[in-house]
Structures are given as C-alpha cells and as structure tokens.
C-alpha cells in the first residue's frame, strides 16, 4: 500500500474536476484521480453548446437564462444557485476562450451562438441564440482545453486509478480517499484536507443510454454507502434523440439548426404539444411526446421510434455545424441525414440528482444544509440544484465550469486555512474488505447478466413514464439483484489490469444508484419535469415542491424532504 499526502484530491478528470484543479494548480498541492486518461472523460462527448447570455448575435440577459433554467427544471431548481449559474456562465465562457477553446465565430470574430431547447428571450417569448459552440464538438473542445491547461499548470494526474472509497474520520470530516491502480492492482491511500467528487453520472444503469461505459456512478454510490444522502435521484433525463437501439446522442443542436421530428405518418408532431417552441421544447417534454406518439401507434412502421428530419437543411450547414452527429448516423445506422430521416428514440442521458451540495460545491448531510467538512462535489455527480426536475440543453457544461470553478476556489481557501485531518488507523480497511468480498465470491452468477437485468428493469419501469406497480416491481428486482450480486464471481484472478474486477465493482456501484433512483421515484407522488407518474399526472406544489433526500441508515432506507429555495420566480404552470 502506498500513502500519499495532498492538500486536495479531485476524483474525476472531466470538465468539473479539471476546472477545479486549474483553480488550485500552483497554489496548493493537488492531485487529480481518474479511472480513465483525462481526455477520455465523458465531458468530451457533449456536443451542442454551452449556454451563456453573451448576447453576441441577439439581445440576451442572464436573468432570462436564469428564468429558463428555473422553468425548465419545473420550478424545483434552487433559485440562488440558478442565479449563480446564469450570471457566472458569462465569464466562465470568456475564461474558456482565454484558455484557448476554439469556439465557432461570428463574422465580427466573436463567439458564435445558436438556439437550444428551452432557452428563450424575454421570459419565454420565443427561442434565443444562447448556446456558444464549437461545431457539434463543444464538449470535446472543453475537455481538450482543460486538459491542456492542466498540463500547462503541472497538475499531478493519477491516470487509470479506480476509486474504492472515500475516507471519513469519526467526527464526520473527510480526510482522503482510497484508489486502486488499475495497471498494477496496488492500493493507494490519498490523505487530503479536501476531496472533490467529480465522477459524472450513471446512465449505464439504463439499457439505452448516451453515456460512456465509464458512467457508473462510482463517486455517488460510495458516499451513499457511507450514509451520506443523495438528492433528487428520481429526476433522470431522457434525451429525445438517441440513435435508434444504440442510444448514441444526436445533439439537440440538430433541432436548434432547424431539424424536425416526424412520426410514422410524416407529421411534425411537436407543434401539436408545444405550439410556441415546438421541436425546441425542453427534453423531458419532447421525450414524452415521442413516447405518446409511439404508444398511440404513430411510431415509424409501428415500432418504438420516430424520425429526425434534417433533409430540408442546407447541406453546407450540416457539414459546418453538425459534422459529427451526422457521421454517427452514417456510421452506425447507414443513414445519410442530408437525404434520409434518422431513426431516433429517447436515451438515458443525464442525472439531475446526485450528492447534495451548497453553491460552493460543499456536500451537505441533511435538509438543514449541514456541511461535511472537506467533502465537495461538482458536475453531474452533484445536485446543487440548478437543474431541478429537468436540465436544459447546454446547462450541464455551464454547471461543470461554473461549479467546478467555485469548488476549486473554495477548496483552495479551505486547504490554505485548515490543517490535515488525522487519518483513521486503517484508512483502507473498508476498501480492502469490499475488494476481498468481491474477489472471494465463488457463485455461478455473471456480472454481465446481473447488469443486463438491472438495465432492463430500469429501462422498462423507471424511464420516461412510471407508475407505482412498475416502481415496486423495480424495487423488488433491484433488491433481488443486490442479493445475486453477492454470488457474482470475478473470473480474472490477475492483478494487472483486471477489468473484470473493475466492471464487477462498477456494477455494485450502479445497483446502489438504481436503488436510490427507484426509491425517490416511488416517494414522489406527482409528475414534475423528467419524473412522470401516470398514476399522479399533475404537479403537486402543495406536497412536493421539495427535494428528496434518500439515505442508507441502520434501519433501512430513509427518505426526507428538503425545501426548495425560491427567490424571484414563483412556480407557474409550465407551458411552451
């Protein structure tokens, strides 16, 4: 076992983690841990843009962005956080440009902007051009730029290190983490004054997802196992346009540039549901429109998909602004988007929920907002909450640069102020016990089969439309799979690059994420944003204008409500 000492350890090298690291580089001793190489992080898969009210191509104001974020999240967004998001988006994007990010440009040389779902002018009057973009590779450019800055600033990277545990002292403060070096199998203890969880999401709990295979919720599940609550887990976004059967994302930018969804009859159905924004209504709604079309027999050829039609767009616009996503359609479906409609279906895309934090990314342990000293989270693994019940397109990238930056700045101040907490006597005890338990299982069950069963039940019962019977069945199945997991055997006995062991551990993490998603979904007896209950079709502000917090206790799962912060915008009916 190797023991290292750092002022701060950042787990996850996507946009949030790297943004935090860059704030601290050179001013504190900081390490970035990733189970991948940093540029492989899933931030790189983001396509369409990053929202900021720069007003480069038409009038825009951060107040409008804040309003859209609150309304898009079906009013369960904490408005103090949404204000920070919308305000700080502007200079965060400028900072990215200063770091070298190659944005597309307007004829005057400014950062170019385009339309995106749910982003409007003057509090909902019509679409506004707010998404700053680099073709349909905005996330790629962000991850590359931030990695470049990490290299420039001599950030210390622990590449291909897998998170096994976060260490908490008896008094509750965080004092480091335990990793497993994938290349050697060696255990490392990283003793630190502060730890940032920036491990992203867990879309892999669903069968059809846009998420990378690495999106297994490691950094969310581990604190949850240690009794720390997870918040708003029932709010899981299904992006309307995943490539049929594969779930690979086809950016909303395709509709921002004028693409139209059509059902099996060729009808542009979105305007029937959302007369003002039509195809650019928020994602939760468009996914439900598709679900409804399919349910009423208007899917293409009676199947469970519809078409995204780009054939009327100028081919030059497709080549210049949507090159990658149209390539995906060609490569994986054999469809030429310039002349043929693209088969699409909703795909599990983004967790609005996660570790509850305050606006400085400090993880809190209860509904009063009690901070856990030294423990931070930012990006998709966190729930601030700026996305509420449904995240607007582009706001994930905004979230990770704004709150990654705030995390880094707050941590820097914290580690410069505080002394090292004392490590528990056997800091790696829980991690080793977990490893040994998984390695000693000798059952006949395979991780792949358990994983597939989890993904099936989550997709069938816990996706775009939910009801009590389905959720109870899902809860039973997840608990049964957790028992089966105890009999899954790891077939690779090696120490070097044991990805069989890694996938098995990841499955364990995903089962915990799935458990909390189902628990939140069962508790929330209303429909709001991405959480749609066919047995409770209306939003219920009297009982449910509140966040849910699910936590593991000695007496089983506990669910509590946390009040929503409302500062400016009173909840209204959400129409587009």
């Amino acid at each position: 076992m190797a023991i290292h000492k750092f002022d701060a350890v950042i787990v996850g090298a996507g946009g949030a983690g790297l943004m935090a690291a860059i704030q601290m580089a050179g001013k504190a001793n900081v390490a970035v841990v990733s189970k991948l190489y940093p540029p492989r992080s899933h931030t790189g898969a983001a396509q369409g843009g990053i929202g900021a009210a720069l007003g480069n191509t038409e009038e825009d104001h951060w107040e409008w962005h804040m309003f859209d974020t609150v309304k898009g999240g079906d009013y369960i967004v904490d408005q103090d956080a949404a204000e920070i998001l919308a305000r700080e988006a502007i200079d965060s994007v400028i900072e990215l440009e200063h770091m070298g990010l190659p944005f597309n440009r307007t004829p005057e040389g400014k950062i170019d902007q385009r339309r995106f779902g749910g982003h409007t002018r003057n509090y909902g009057e019509g679409p506004v051009k707010r998404a700053c973009f680099a073709a349909d590779r905005t996330g790629h450019m962000i991850i590359q730029t931030l990695y470049q800055q990490g290299i420039k600033n001599n950030v210390q990277f622990f590449d291909e290190h897998f998170l096994l545990d976060v260490i908490f002292a008896d008094n509750g403060e965080c004092c480091g983490c335990v990793t497993w070096e994938i290349k050697t199998g060696e255990i490392h203890v990283l003793h630190a004054k502060a730890v940032l969880i920036a491990t992203g999401g867990f879309g892999r709990v669903f069968r059809i997802t846009s998420n990378a295979m690495a999106g297994t919720g490691d950094g969310v599940a581990i604190p949850y196992r240690r009794g720390i609550p997870v918040m708003d887990m029932e709010f899981y976004q299904f992006h309307p346009t995943g490539l049929y059967r594969l779930g690979i994302l086809l950016s909303e930018a395709a509709r921002g540039e004028g693409g139209i969804l059509r059902n099996g009859n060729g009808e542009a159905f979105a305007e029937r549901y959302a007369p003002t924004l039509k195809d650019l209504a928020p994602r939760d709604m468009v996914s439900r429109f598709i679900f409804q079309e399919v349910k009423e027999g208007r899917g293409v050829d009676g199947k469970d998909y519809v078409h995204l039609d780009l054939t009327h767009l100028d081919p030059a616009v497709i080549d210049a602004k949507l090159p990658d996503v149209t390539d995906f359609a060609r490569t994986y479906l054999g469809v030429e988007p310039k002349s043929q409609p693209v088969p699409i279906q909703p795909t599990a895309h983004y967790a609005m929920g996660g570790l509850p934090t305050d606006v400085d990314a400090r993880v809190i342990r209860d509904e009063q907002g009690t901070v856990i000293p030294g423990f931070y989270s930012a990006g998709e693994s966190a729930c601030v909450s700026v996305h509420g019940a449904n995240r607007l397109g582009t706001n994930s990238l905004v979230d990770l640069v704004v709150f990654g930056r705030r995390a880094g700045r707050h941590m820097l101040d914290f580690v410069n102020r505080e002394d090292f907490p004392e490590l528990p006597r056997n800091p790696d005890a829980l991690a080793r016990a977990e490893l040994e338990s998984v390695l000693s299982n000798r059952g006949s069950e395979s991780a792949a089969e358990v994983r597939a069963r989890m993904q099936d039940i989550m997709m069938d019962n816990v996706s775009v439309v939910r009801d009590e019977d389905g959720l109870i069945a899902a809860r039973d199945e997840i608990q049964s799979l957790k028992r089966t997991y105890q009999h899954v055997s790891v077939r690779d006995p090696g120490k070097v690059f044991n990805t069989d062991l890694m996938e098995t551990l990841e499955l364990g993490y995903m089962l915990d994420c799935a458990e909390s998603i189902v628990e939140g979904a069962l508790a929330r007896q209303e429909s709001r944003g991405a959480h749609y209950r066919s047995d409770f079709e209306k939003r219920d502000d009297v009982n449910w204008l509140a966040h849910t917090m699910v936590s593991k206790t000695s007496g089983g799962l506990q669910i509590r409500k946390k009040p929503v912060k409302i500062t400016v915008f009173e909840p209204k009916e959400r129409t587009y």
């Binding site: 540029p39 994007v93 440009r105 680099a134 590779r137 420039k152 395979s446 070097v496």
Partner: protein, 232 residues
C-alpha cells in the same frame, strides 16, 4: 452472423509471449467490433482485457489493430470486417496485457510540444476576436482525440523511439496555426530537433489510420513548411 474473433492475448503474470486465441461470436452485422469484444468478455472469457469508454468514436480509448489496420473498435461494424476478424494491440509501445498498451510515452510526446495556448494579456472582460477564416485555419487538427492510432501506425515511431510522432505534431499544429497563439516559435524549435518533424518520411499511414479523418500528413507538412519559412 457468425464470426470468429482471432485475438492476440498476453497475460503478463503467466505468459512469456503473446499468442492468438479464437472466439466464435454470434452477432448482428450492425454490431460494432467493440460489441463483439464485449460479448467475448462478458459471456465467454472474463480475462479478455481492452480499454473502452464512450463506444462511439469520441473518447479515443479503444484504438487497436483490426485486420491489420489501426481502428477504433467502436467505430467499425462487424459487417465491414467479415467472418474472420484479427484483433491485435497497437504496435510500437509495450503491451501491458492483451490489447492494452502502455500509453506513457505517447502522452509524454504529446506534452513535449507544449500543447496549450501560449498567449499573454488576453482582454479582461470579453473574448479575443478571431475571424471565421482564422478559426478555420486550424479546425482539422482540433479534432484529435489522442487515441494513438496515427502514431502507432507510423513506421518511423516503430524504429525510432525518440520521434515525437504524428499525434504530437498534430497537436502542435493546432496551436501553431491558431491566430491567438504566441508560442509558435517555441514549438517550432522543439519540432526542428532530432526528434521532430524531419523524421517524417511522408508515408501517409497516419492519415489512413486517423479515425477522425484528420489530414495528419498534411498537418505535418504544414509544420515543416512553417519551419522552412522561419529559416528564410
């Protein structure tokens, strides 16, 4: 369709040298090679080891030799590779296990060319201006995903481990031709050394291998030309 996957295996804890093993898989013609590898790993042999993440050609994890060509396993469909597929690790770097190569030298070479914007005094409150034409000048090389397919396809890197390789040059190009950058001199000096662009013999393997369709050889030629212009 039925396919036979012929995979080069190496277990550093038990094997002296690598050897091939065959696996039969039943797959859809539209499955990716990565799907077939997953099928082997998940349902036949859990010890099979490879890197992968995004599964759609964006993260750069799963570059490998597929029927003798460097490709991303998630970007090639089974129907393209036929009923017999040979899978090997990329050439030129040490193999850690099965299809996993040691990437340290690759990233060291990348870091050696100062792959970050060098620009002093940006304007405080707004973005630097850059015309669409200036932005287009380096668009191609911004697409690099650091998968190493180009560098490990280059015969020069196989024999000369000092050569920085195509990927590092691509990433230097991305900044040398960015109108906002002020570090071109430093980078060109690095690439003018023994280990730099003059090792390139314009073989075009790199361009053929790039899964992002970057014109790698052209980028290298542009860097060479920039050096010549500077020398004049």
């Amino acid at each position: 369709m039925k396919s036979t996957m012929r995979i080069k295996r190496f277990d550093p804890e038990n094997d002296v040298k690598p050897s091939f093993r065959d696996y039969d898989v039943e797959c859809d013609p539209n499955d990716r090679v990565l799907d077939a590898l997953n099928q082997v790993k998940w349902f036949q042999d859990g010890t099979l080891t490879y890197r992968r993440s995004c599964a759609h050609g964006i993260c750069g994890s799963d570059a490998m030799r597929i029927n003798g060509r460097n490709r991303l396993a998630c970007q090639v469909l089974m129907k393209e590779v036929g009923k017999k597929v040979t899978i090997e690790p990329l050439l030129g770097y040490e193999v850690i296990k099965d299809l996993i190569i040691d990437m340290d030298k690759f990233f060291d070479a990348y870091k050696s060319v100062k792959p970050y914007l060098i620009a002093n005094d940006p304007p405080a409150s707004h973005e630097r201006l850059q015309s669409p034409a200036d932005r287009d000048r380096f668009d191609d090389t911004t697409k690099c995903i650091l998968c190493a397919a180009c560098t490990t396809a280059c015969p020069i890197t196989w024999t000369n481990d000092q050569f920085v390789g195509p990927a590092a040059i691509v990433n230097a190009h991305r900044f040398i031709f960015d109108s906002r950058d002020q570090g071109s001199g430093e980078r060109l000096q690095i690439l003018n050394q023994q280990s730099g662009v003059w090792r390139c013999r314009t073989i075009f393997n790199c361009t053929d291998a790039c899964p992002r369709d970057i014109e790698v050889t052209k980028a290298i030629e542009e860097v060479k030309r920039a050096l010549l212009v500077e020398a004049l």
